[in-house]
């Protein structure tokens, strides 16, 4: 258990460093939903930078898995849960202009009140949902 949160801290510092590299190097905010959402709905500019970023984001974990560092996603196998969950995440992050990386990592670190409020809403709604799914639905 302690080993797991040490890896959490190490991985967290890597995520923050990635956000700092993108900010200082390109002036862009490392928000996953903003980066991929702008690409999907056509509102995003600077598409070659976005593509390079996505290539690294998807390619690096693939390389690590090939190299023997495997992580199980342990995701549910209920299709309706995956579809509803995905739709909620996609629609919600675009309405709110950000997710855990944009509002959480990049927003809260500059003391953005919107970032704090969004993160409180994420964790509050997430906790209520997890409890409801486990206790209410027994899944």
């Amino acid at each position: 258990m302690p080993v797991e949160w040490i890896w959490g801290l190490v991985g967290g510092v890597m995520i923050g460093t990635a956000a700092a590299v993108l900010l200082l190097g390109t002036g862009r905010i490392m928000g996953a939903s903003g980066i991929v959402g702008g690409f999907v709905d056509g509102t995003g500019q600077d598409r070659s930078t976005t593509l390079s970023f996505l290539f690294g984001l998807i390619g690096m974990p693939a390389l690590m898995t090939l190299g023997g560092w495997e992580v199980a996603t342990n995701a549910t196998s209920l299709p309706w849960l995956l579809i509803i969950g995905g739709l909620c995440v996609g629609i919600g992050t675009r309405f709110a202009n950000g997710c855990t990386s944009g509002h959480g990592v990049c927003g809260m670190s500059r003391l953005s009140m919107r970032g704090f409020m969004a993160t409180v809403a994420h964790i509050g709604a997430g906790a209520a949902t997890v409890t409801f799914v486990r206790v209410g639905l027994g899944l």
Partner: protein
Amino acid sequence: MMRRLIALLSGALFGAGLHVSGMTDTAKVRGFLDFAGAWDPTLAFVMGGAMLPMVFAWRFTRGRKPLTGNTYPAPPRSDITSPLITGSILFGMGWGLVGLCPGPALASITYGGWQGALFLLAMLAGMWAVPPLRRGLDSLKATN
């Protein structure tokens, strides 16, 4: 070219960090959100660790320009709007249902199986639907 290399490096580091921290494991994420159950604090360490370099990065931006590109992002908005709150609650519900958010959903796509692919497809469809949804909501408001 320089700009693309920086973005590639940042993306790779983001993906590695998500992989190493265990944030592509939905059991860990849902474990953090399960305050009433067997609570897993890992996500708090990830968030704290990620904010550290960014606190310094934001300070460094003052009065400077990025290495490539022209400007840093504008100062954060301070208005707490209803799309911010309702959207974030909706996101939190989907996050709790499956345990994936946009970054990890992308980072784990090569090893997440059909489950990861189905979630990502639904997420992208949701993102794609937001501009027309917004226009629909705005015209509803305008007619009322």
